[in-house]
């Protein structure tokens, strides 16, 4: 136990001015409380400086600092004492930190040196031994999330406690020590300790508050010192470089913005790079979510990152002036990153992982992986990774959630939520299109993908209803007398609203959807909507009170029968509405959805640091 050993202190104030040395010494001894606590205090004074003797203090006025170091090490070795080295004049460490440093050394017999962190009194921010920033940057909010002891490469700092006996049989090559600076000499001592297996530990529960700049706290070694060290150990630079690249070094800045500190806003990065410069269901979904974030995100400081073209096309800065708009990925430093759509590749994962502590994705569906031919290579692994390593997932329907977990494993810890897109009629309709005078066409929704089923459905309608006017949004066949075809994504929002609200009926023949926003829009205008039977549509009807009727069909004959009855004004069986809603509960809206998402993100903060490290390891070099 180091606590049972005496303590020796070596205080180096050789870089103080002659005028201030005496005052500085008294202040260090009194405020630090070293007299009485330390069995021996060696003080290195500025060269030639004479100050009055102090009881219990050995003053060294005309010796080279590195020579005093050798003497101090020898004295501590002889007394089996811990040796505390305080390097800089302006760094006033006080003796309260000693139990923490000693406890760190007691925790592991192969820890040879212990050092505290250093904080700026201006803003409480901390310097990190592995960083190189000119300012203290690590938020104090990160500290409770960091381990109490962090093992690092040897690192010369302004305050260093050396284990008793560590140096007893260390060959202090005087030629080497005497050839370098004091920090260089110390670095050499530490290098020798490390090569024998004794590591340095950084104690995050011991913090010295100091105005000193970085170069005083973590002295930069001279080129000559580095040469000496690298000659003694060719791995010296590599080990230090690995230290700078350790996961904790990347995690720490994120921890500083993570806690639910009420005095400071949490930072959220919304990844909208999946937004395309076209009007389609995905765009309407993402714009709707952004409306919710603009209204409900008050406790968060929200940045949106979106492609420049898409941002301009949808006028995001003008639509959402309360959110911060970016067209390139920002620097790390977010509490959470949430992607409004699925990740499509490792790069997205890596980019968001390195910028935020908590990582969430909105899983729209698993269609791309299921149909295969539109999926990027490796998509299954990316989503498997999401299931295992995302901090939270949201799904736009129970149907989508079930498909996802059927295909990819579900870890027990994962915070997740089904966040329905808006099922509020008011959010899908425009007053000027509410009551069109004429209803004169059947509207067919889809696109060229096979699972949308639009080609066969169009053929069927042509045959069964040769006199009915048909408008196809997302069709591929050219327009003919009966059929007007509009390419998906090339129709304006106004045109879509007009076509929906004026349709006699809407047909959505898709085999596979995650939500089916066009269906909801049609129902919102009170239009009857025909869909291929699927549990998804029961879910949509059950969670909504939309005015239109949702009518399912199982096959072609049922489709023809039910559409025919609708066109003739005859009753058809429709799915029951609102059975999953409490009587007094409104249907999901964009705002309520965002509230659910933010709640899940906050839940995901618990244990996020540990998961971040796991994810970092699992990501490895993937980009």
């Amino acid at each position: 136990m180091t606590g049972k050993n005496p303590l020796h202190v070596l205080l180096d104030i050789s870089d103080a001015s002659l005028a201030e040395a005496g005052t500085l010494l008294d202040k260090a001894l009194m405020d630090g409380g070293w007299l009485g606590v330390a069995a021996r205090v060696d003080v290195i004074l500025p060269s030639g400086e004479q100050v009055a003797a102090r009881q219990g203090v050995v003053l060294h006025a005309s010796k080279l600092p590195r020579t005093v170091l050798v003497h101090a090490v020898e004295a501590a070795t002889a007394a089996r004492a811990s040796l505390l080295i305080l390097l800089a004049a302006g760094v006033s460490a006080s003796n309260e930190i000693i139990p923490e440093l000693r406890a760190a050394l007691d925790a592991d017999p192969l820890l040879g040196t212990a050092q505290p962190l250093f904080a700026s009194p201006m803003n409480d921010r901390l310097w990190t031994p592995w960083g190189e920033e000119p300012e203290a940057t690590l938020s104090r909010d990160a500290l409770p999330e960091l381990p109490a002891h962090i093992i690092t490469a040897e690192c010369v700092s302004a305050c260093l406690l050396i284990r008793p006996g560590l140096l007893s049989d260390l060959v202090l090559t005087r030629e080497l020590l005497l050839d370098g600076s004091l920090p260089g000499a110390l670095a050499f001592v530490l290098l020798g300790a490390r090569r024998r297996g004794f590591r340095n530990v950084c104690c995050t529960r011991a913090v010295v508050v100091t105005e000193a700049p970085r170069e005083r706290i973590y002295p930069t070694l001279s080129g000559k010192d580095l040469q000496t060290l690298c000659a003694a150990d060719p791995s010296y630079e590599r080990i230090r470089r690995e230290d700078r690249q350790m996961p904790l070094a990347r995690l720490a800045p994120l921890l500083g913005v993570a806690p639910c500190a009420t005095w400071r806003q949490r930072r959220l990065l919304l990844d909208c790079r999946g937004l395309s410069p076209i009007h389609n269901g995905t765009s309407r979904n993402m714009l709707g979510q952004l409306e919710g974030f603009a209204v409900r995100g008050g406790d968060w400081d929200i940045d949106i990152v979106c492609g420049e073209h898409a941002s301009a096309f949808h006028g995001l800065p003008e639509r959402f002036p309360g959110l911060n708009h970016l067209t390139a990925l920002p620097r790390p430093g977010y509490t959470a990153a949430f992607r409004l759509s699925q990740p499509w590749n490792w790069q997205v994962f890596s980019e968001l992982h390195h910028r935020a502590l908590v990582l969430g994705f909105n899983m729209l569906d698993t269609i791309a992986w299921d149909i295969g031919y539109v999926a990027p290579e490796g998509l299954g692994d990316v989503w498997r990774f999401a299931a295992r390593h995302a901090d939270m997932l949201t799904f736009i329907s129970h149907f989508s959630r079930a498909r996802f977990y059927q295909r990819f494993s579900r870890p027990a810890h994962l915070p997740e939520a089904v966040v329905h897109l808006s099922l509020s009629a008011a959010e899908h309709t425009r007053p000027d299109w509410q009551a069109p005078e004429a209803r004169h066409h059947v509207l067919l929704f889809g696109n060229s993908y096979d699972h949308k089923g639009i080609g066969p459905a169009l053929d069927l309608l042509r045959r069964a209803f040769p006199t009915v006017s048909i408008v196809v949004v997302g069709g591929t066949s050219p327009s003919s007398g009966q059929v007007r075809t509009l390419l998906s994504g090339e129709v304006t929002e106004e045109e879509i609203h007009g076509l929906i609200s004026s349709a006699q009926a809407i047909l959505f023949p898709s085999f596979y959807e995650g939500f089916g926003l066009p269906v909801v829009e049609g129902l919102s205008y009170g239009r009857p909507v025909l869909v291929r039977a699927s549990p998804l549509w029961n879910e949509i009807a059950a969670h909504s009170r939309l005015p239109g009727n949702l009518v399912t069909f199982r096959d072609d004959s049922e489709l023809v029968d039910r559409l025919g009855r609708i066109l003739a004004g005859l009753p058809v069986p429709a799915l029951e509405k609102a059975v999953a809603l409490d009587a007094d509960k409104p249907a999901p809206s964009w705002n309520s959805g965002v509230e659910q998402t933010l709640t899940a993100l906050v839940q995901a903060l618990d244990g996020a640091a540990e998961r971040w490290l796991d994810r970092d390891l699992a990501l490895g070099g993937r980009t």
Binding site: G3, L7, M30, D31, G33, W34, L35, G36, V37, S94, N95, E96, I97, I98, P99, E100, L117, A119, P121, M122, D124, R140, D141, L143, P144, R205, A206, V207, V208, V209, E211, P259, C260, A261, T262, W263, R264, D606
Partner: protein, 291 residues
């Protein structure tokens, strides 16, 4: 700092209601009088109840039981355990005992919302800094001051860093069991500290004109109480040294209030000595700067 009200949660440690029965009301009055813009709630931790006990007093006050193992210090730990991660939802946590209005409490009159805002979010503990006439040592740490534990305020992060508030939970390393010489010879506290504790609990105080309100004679009968009270003093001291060790600066209410009156609050806090020797009232002697 936003314009929204500060959120302060007080963990009020008490032992039954025989003494200081109206402490919760007194505390609420203090907040209503001086800190009325603050969103303040109280969790009473009653060491006379069992751990499983709880009771809702009012919309802003609830009570839970504590185990009394380390008096107020274990009570606060019980309160912190009860809070869990929700501690982060508060700007400041108050650690208060039901005796908070005993013995020189003028500093409480200086509490104000701007004062509390100087501490919220910072690495600072706000309270009344007491000091001894000479340095003492405890567990090899030399110190001369402590922040009074009957009323202090800290950001929740500082309590998270601290871990447990009660750090001395076992008396066996300190006490002999003999009222004539109550401390073990090799107990980890200095002779000066032993003298101070004896003088405070059973004698004429620390020579600063203040005496403890519940002094008693140390006898075989009162020995157990002496040991418990002494351990509370040691825990109080350790609380301060541990806060300092983690870089949390002790901030004296009276000093900070006097700097605010003078519209001269320094960005960087001076040492505890500089603080308490430059209070506008109850100033500590200047000799403290040189001892």
């Amino acid at each position: 700092m936003s314009g929204r009200p500060l959120r302060v949660l007080t963990l009020l440690a008490r032992h039954g209601i025989e003494k200081y029965y109206d402490a919760p009301e007194r505390l609420q009055e203090l907040y209503a009088r001086q800190l009325h813009n603050i969103d303040h709630k109280i969790i009473i931790v009653d060491n006379a109840q069992t751990n499983a006990w709880s009771s809702a007093h009012s919309a802003s006050t609830t009570a839970i039981g504590g185990d009394n193992s380390s008096w107020e210090f274990s009570a606060w730990d019980r309160g912190l355990e009860h809070l869990g991660t929700s501690i982060k939802n508060w700007d400041l946590i108050g650690l208060v005992t039901s005796a908070f209005q005993q013995s020189h409490t003028a500093y409480l009159d200086r509490l104000s919302e701007p004062l509390l805002r100087q501490v919220a979010g910072r690495a600072r503990a706000l309270g009344h800094i007491d000091y001894g006439g000479a340095p003492v040592e405890l567990f090899g740490v030399r110190t001369q001051c402590w922040i009074r534990s009957s009323f202090l305020l800290l950001p929740p992060r500082e309590l998270q860093l601290l871990g447990r508030v009660a750090s001395i939970t076992d008396s066996s390393a300190f006490f002999s069991g003999d009222a004539r010489e109550p401390f073990l010879q090799d107990a980890p506290l200095s002779p000066q500290y032993r003298q101070n504790i004896m003088a405070w609990l059973c004698g004429e105080g620390l020579g600063q004109g203040t005496m403890w309100h519940s002094r008693f004679d140390l006898t075989a009968e009162s020995l157990a109480f002496f040991e418990q009270k002494a351990r509370a003093i040691l825990n109080e001291q350790r609380l301060s040294t541990r806060l300092v060790a983690q870089g949390c600066q002790l901030t004296d209410v009276t000093w900070l209030a006097s700097r605010m009156v003078a519209a001269d609050v320094p960005t960087i806090l001076p040492s505890w000595r500089a603080q308490i020797t430059s209070r506008d009232v109850n100033k500590a002697p200047g000799t403290l700067l040189h001892t």
